[in-house]
């Protein structure tokens, strides 16, 4: 950690001086140590570091940070409250726009949003907005008494939320604050969506999600796990038989995509979803304390195919489970990798190897169905494709083989189909995502709203939360008016 000059506690420093202050680093577990455990990498700011970092903010007249945040967190305001030492006030300020700050502070791709917009980034390093948000949320968690949260007067209206990922949780939190009776249905045995089954402990401790869920329970939200809507109960039944006045669908894009190459059925080839679900939801990294097993690949080669957050989460988990050599196979170059920059940096420090411009063509086995190697091909970058990123083009004759014990496919996901196939009249697009109005989140079915990955395809936590928030507003309007559709 670098030693930096300490600013005064109230922001009296002239702007020019503020620009000279370096960004405060967050303490983290040393790379070699953390590569062997599942405890969180980032350790958080102390109160003093937080105030020092906050003091760097230039208090812009037209803050780009807020404009570039998908939910418009009032960064300037909450940061000034930190400078003044009013951490609970800062938390309340963030909560006006963002109900899950402990999570977004940790997982938002800040470089694409708030910090990407921050004016200071033009000259020096941007303000550590994510770190500050996280600090404030953690502080609030330690000091908040959830035993008697203020409750809005009941409206007598019932809303069902399908899926407990960030979109569903946000909608639930906003609706219960408006006095509606909110019931969340979740297919898995633990609420939280990708936050629980996908993103690993070392990046987002499960305790944080449990605390957020407890907070919502204290506000009055009821969670019912083990309900696969469409199978256990349908949307029609919820509305007609169980008396729900409105339904929000936030079922996510949880279906794994495979590559369709030979050998994907071999033992040792996983989808990222299965690999991460075993580890996170089922705690396979704590086998045999937990019953869920994982194949033993200690000391062996593990490759993850893909370059997003999912790929990095999988490969870093593999490293923590004792992989001898852990590497990413990505068909474009590092510049095109969609993962958060901080994760790429962290992964490199931990010793993850990046084999970019390469893709597997086929998996090979030992003759008994156990993976032994992948046959890969090198790529070059061609013209930009529809996503604006340069398209990978295979190089003829560049095939090579790498020995592998485990391969994890993390090339993307698609829409969870169960609700769509069991809800007549619910319009979907060609790829089976639910069609919803981008401002009201209304679907083609009266009283039914949708948002998050099930509408947009896999995106980010904060975009899903934004959709949940718009839906809650729109559901509230629908329930408070004549209910025209």
């Amino acid at each position: 950690m670098t030693q930096s000059p300490k600013p005064p506690l109230l922001n009296v420093l002239p702007l020019k001086e503020r620009m000279k202050l370096p960004r405060q680093h967050m303490l983290e577990q040393p790379a070699l140590e953390r590569a062997t455990n599942f405890t969180e990498v980032n350790l958080g700011y102390s109160e003093e570091l937080a105030r020092q970092e906050a003091a760097r903010c230039l208090e812009c007249a037209k803050p780009k940070c807020t404009i570039d945040c998908p939910v418009g967190v009032k960064v300037k305001e909450f940061v000034q409250l930190i400078v003044a030492g009013d951490f609970m006030g800062a938390a309340a300020k963030i909560r006006e726009d963002n109900v899950l700050p402990a999570i977004t502070g940790r997982v938002c791709p800040q470089e694409d949003h708030c910090e990407g917009g921050c004016l200071m980034g033009k000259k020096v390093q941007p303000l550590g907005i994510g770190y500050l948000e996280r600090f404030v949320a953690d502080y609030e968690q330690r000091h908040l008494d959830i035993s008697n949260l203020p409750k809005a007067p009941p409206t007598g209206k019932k809303v069902a939320i399908v899926g407990s990922g960030p979109s569903g949780l946000t909608a639930a939190g906003d609706l219960v604050q408006r006095g509606h009776q909110v019931h969340v249905f979740e297919a898995l045995h633990t609420p939280g969506g990708v936050l629980v089954y996908g993103i690993p402990e070392f990046r987002l401790p499960k305790q944080i999600i449990r605390e957020q869920i407890d907070y919502m329970r204290a506000m009055g939200v009821v969670f019912e796990t083990d309900v696969v809507v469409g199978r256990t109960v349908t949307i029609d039944e919820l509305m007609e038989e169980e008396g729900y006045d409105a339904v929000f669908i936030g079922t996510g894009a949880g279906l794994p995509q495979f590559m369709g190459i030979p050998g994907e059925h071999f033992n040792g080839v996983y989808s990222a979803n299965e690999f991460l679900t075993r580890i996170n939801l089922m705690h396979a990294y704590e086998f045999p304390k937990y019953d869920e097993p994982m194949v033993d690949f200690r000391g062996k080669n593990v490759a993850v195919v893909g370059g997003g957050n999912t790929a990095l989460d999988a490969i870093r988990s593999a490293l923590r489970l004792g992989a001898g050599k852990a590497f990413i196979l990505y068909r474009r170059s590092e510049a095109e990798m969609p993962a958060r920059k901080e994760e790429v940096e962290h992964a490199k420090q931990e010793g993850i190897e990046f084999q970019v411009l390469a893709a597997p063509l086929e998996f090979l086995d030992d003759g008994k169905g156990w993976l032994t190697a992948a046959r890969c091909q090198k790529m070059a970058l061609g013209e930009p494709d529809a996503s604006g990123r340069r398209r990978p083009v295979p190089i003829e004759g560049s095939e090579y083989e790498i020995p592998l014990a485990v391969a994890v496919i993390a090339i993307g996901t698609s829409a969870n189909p169960i609700v769509q196939s069991t809800t007549p009249g619910l319009n979907t697009n060609k790829r089976n995502y639910i069609e919803a109005d981008p401002t009201t989140q209304r679907t083609s079915r009266k009283g039914v709203f949708a948002g998050g990955d099930i509408v947009t395809g896999s995106a980010t936590v904060i975009l899903a939360m934004g959709a949940g928030r718009r839906a809650a507003k729109s559901i509230h309007e629908y329930l408070s008016t004549s209910g025209d559709w």
Partner: protein
């Protein structure tokens, strides 16, 4: 939490449970299953719904002790609870009037085949049921199956009850006698389903098997349950569990089911050293802090 209203052994190592699960009881169709988890550190395992009673809000399952989770489950009794039960999952069996249907159950597969056999009978089919067990003690659901079958044949591997031999011997007899068979449904150990598939393939008899790969979520999310059907990956939890037997690659199923054998054995050995303490841990969890699990309120 899901309360066990009744539990009884049907045979050594095979137990039937009646569980309070009103939502599932309302929706279950023959051929569907639940996924359950016994306690916080437990794994999720799929078990077929043998019967459901929407009025009472209960479902029944029949479980054979195979490894740690099923053995632990079979140590639970009336009045205990199961932490998580989710369902009904999977595509229901195809029930229509086919003509003559041969329903074959091997071991605990008999209980899995029973609801479909009953529904096929109800749909007007002539149902010939063949059940096989290792010995007399392990023959289960004989009375129930007799009620829904036009003919019931029983085989035991050791001849200790009914006819000595395998279920495939009976199927061969039927074919050799020139019995017209429109559909065969076979549920049991993989070698049995595979043998049935080979036999009926030659005779061009449509055959359905219910596959039992390793599952986690049961909703199509993990892809762990993928089976090779006609050379393509299908997810048994959403595309199945029933598949056309003649298109299934049984070797891949056997191979994938062996993936965690070492770990499973380790689990089982550790469990067997002190099974009581595990059951006690479940009891403690159920009476203690976890009263909030499942539905709140």
């Amino acid at each position: 939490m899901f309360k066990i209203l009744h539990a009884e052994f049907l045979a050594p190592g095979i137990k039937r449970f009646e569980i309070e699960a009103p939502r599932i009881a309302h929706k279950q169709k023959p051929g569907q299953f639940v996924i359950l988890r016994l306690y916080e550190q437990g794994e999720r395992i799929p078990i077929t719904i043998e019967h459901s009673d929407p009025e009472r809000g209960t479902i029944r399952i029949v479980v054979q002790s195979a490894g740690k989770t099923t053995t632990l489950l079979n140590s639970l009794n009336t009045g205990d609870s199961i932490l998580n039960v989710v369902g009904p999952l999977g595509k229901p069996s195809d029930i229509e009037k086919f003509g003559t249907v041969v329903v074959m159950g091997g071991g605990v597969g008999t209980a899995m085949a029973y609801p479909t056999a009953a529904a096929l009978k109800h749909a007007g089919n002539r149902v010939i049921t063949i059940v096989g067990a290792r010995n007399k003690e392990l023959v289960i659901l004989e009375r129930e199956l007799r009620e829904c079958s036009d003919a019931l044949m029983i085989t035991t591997d050791d001849g200790s009850y009914a006819d000595k031999g395998f279920v495939t011997d009976k199927l061969r007899q039927l074919i050799e006698n020139g019995t017209r068979i429109d559909l065969v449904l076979a549920i049991g150990p993989i070698p049995m389903m595979r043998a049935v598939a080979e036999m009926t393939r030659k005779e061009h008899i449509r055959t359905v098997v219910s596959l039992n790969p390793i599952m986690i979520d049961g909703t199509g999310m993990c892809g762990g349950c993928r089976v090779l059907v006609d050379g393509k990956s299908e997810f048994a939890c959403v595309d199945g569990p029933e598949f056309d037997a003649h298109r299934v690659d049984f070797s891949v199923l056997v191979q994938r089911n062996s993936m965690y054998r070492t770990a499973e054995q380790k689990s089982m050995e550790a469990f067997q050293q002190d099974p009581e303490s595990q059951v006690e841990a479940i009891h403690a969890e159920q009476t203690g802090a976890c009263a909030l699990k499942g539905i709140d309120r």
